[in-house]
Amino acid sequence: MAELTYRAAVARGIAQEMDRDPSVVLIGEDVAAAGGVFKTTEGLLERFGPDRVRDTPISEEAIVGGIMGAAMNGLRPIGELMFSDFLATCWDIVANQIAKTRYMTGGQVELPLVIRTANGGGARFGGQHSQSVENWAMAIPGLKVVAPSTPRDVIGLMAAAVRDPDPVVFFEHKKLFASKQDVLEGEIVDRLGEAAIRRPGSDVTIVALAAMVPVAVEAATVLEATGVSAEVIDLRTLVPLDTRTLLDSVSRTGRLVTVEENPRLCGWGAEIASIIAEEGFWNLDAPIVRVTTPHIPLPAAAELEDLAIPSSERVVEAVLRIQ
């Protein structure tokens, strides 16, 4: 048992997999000598050497194209994109090449690769370095999508992502890098597609992801005081999606509130709300409410950014609105 930060868990998770499988490599900008701009890859160069841990030029298409090619030829590469906003600079390779190649070749090409990237707001970095874009990846058939909310899950889901035979986009949340948790020593391996009930409850189901999970849990604690028993579900992975856990929870609570950091339109919350509105409709006792960042770019000023990103107060208000 050791107290571990989310940041350190990233390096531990990668190291765990590089240790066990020599075909796992890591490339990206400043990931080697510098240990990553968020210090999430610290020590990996020293431990695994420059062949397996490599700095790249500022060439995102070459980074993700490079790991795609490497995955086609016997490696299990991990590519880092410094900020998830930069997925846009290589979106063709990610969405049109990596995601579609297996299908388009009739299953000839397997792509066991992971794209890691720092996602989300709260750091006052402004509109081009703060986005939550997990919904971009979820919208693309052929990509698996992971977004852990705890240090332990970073390790377990990193292992699952690296061992998965399909391409995985792994979102590390900037706001959580400093968060801490006691984590057991030794190997940790999870399975993709399993949500976690962070807090059982009977009156309403609150679904959250990554940095919105602590927000939802905080809201649930406040709600308890007002006599509302909220169940908080941490999705952990968007693809595959654990719809069973979601449908089961709503069948017990009859109410659904989703809490997303991404902008309002076409987020994962809309997908989940739609699934429940079709398959869980007869269990619903009230409208489905989505709490999201408004449909605006993220502002830089602290006071504005804090207003934009969902807060526990907004979650509480949303839940009470449908009680």
């Binding site: 060439s59 070459a62 194209g65 490497a70 995955a71 090449q97 009739g106 090409v109 595959p240 719809t243």
Partner: protein
Amino acid sequence: MTPDPTSDEAARLAMYREMVRARYFEQRAYDLFMEGIVQGTTHLGLGQEAIAAGFAAAMRPEDMTFCTYRGHNHTLLRGAPMSALLGELAGRSIGICAGKGGSMHLTDVTKNAMGSYAIVGAHLPIAVGAAWAGSLRGTDQVSVCFFGDGTTNIGAFHEAVNLAAVWKVPVVFVCENNLYMEYTPISEMTPVEHPAADRASAYGLESIIVDGNDVDAVYAVASRTIERARRGEGPSLVEAKTYRHKGHSRADPGEYRPEEEVTAWLARDPIPSYRARLEAVDVDPSTLDAIEADAMIEVDGATEETRNAPPPAAETLMTEVWADGGSEWRN
């Protein structure tokens, strides 16, 4: 390495055969498109066969080919079965990609034909990554990546060649300069005369230009650059001058091209000129006739197989998104 065709008659005949196979195959693909058997689109390499044949001859089986939608010839000449390729163009169950890819995505990984890519530039970094993985794994493989002149103006070209040069990756970039993008001359869209060769120095690479319609010349450049890559001396960027006999795709008559230009290039057709060269060194014409006849028989056979093949089964719609063979995104 492979015997030097320019001194080895058997190897030269082999290159001739490969060019003829590509030629007949693509002519048939065109006819079948007009007939409505080939679906969607085709981008033919008619007139550019010497580049495919010269490089294929210089490659080892383990070397990897990455090409574009205009890559029927490259995929075929790495050894992919003709009927599976034609079947793919026609969207049949026998297609090399089970009918899911279509003409722009011909792939045969068993022959290290690592894919045809339909978005300009995307496959260059992919070819670099595959080559890098080979060198890391000590496989001695080389990637050969084919693309067009217009591709030299897209960002992925720049990023890929730069990374390959910085990492000294065993990849050979081959620009097939056929003078046109889709309908626009490359000369109008590039500030340098040689869109690839004049960019080589930007990556610390040698400027290499070859007559893409002379299969012997292509072979020579191919073996030189491939062996350089195999020796760990890094990438090369080759510009092969050539011309496409037909339009850009589908039924495009290519009328945006001056008639004299077309006639001049048709006169430089790589296949008859190579036949003449072989005859000049006393190759028996009947040998060459036989090669042509065999190729036609192969094409006819593939055509029959394709005509008789059923479309893909409905169930296959939902297969092969994931490695488990399926497409489930939920439990």
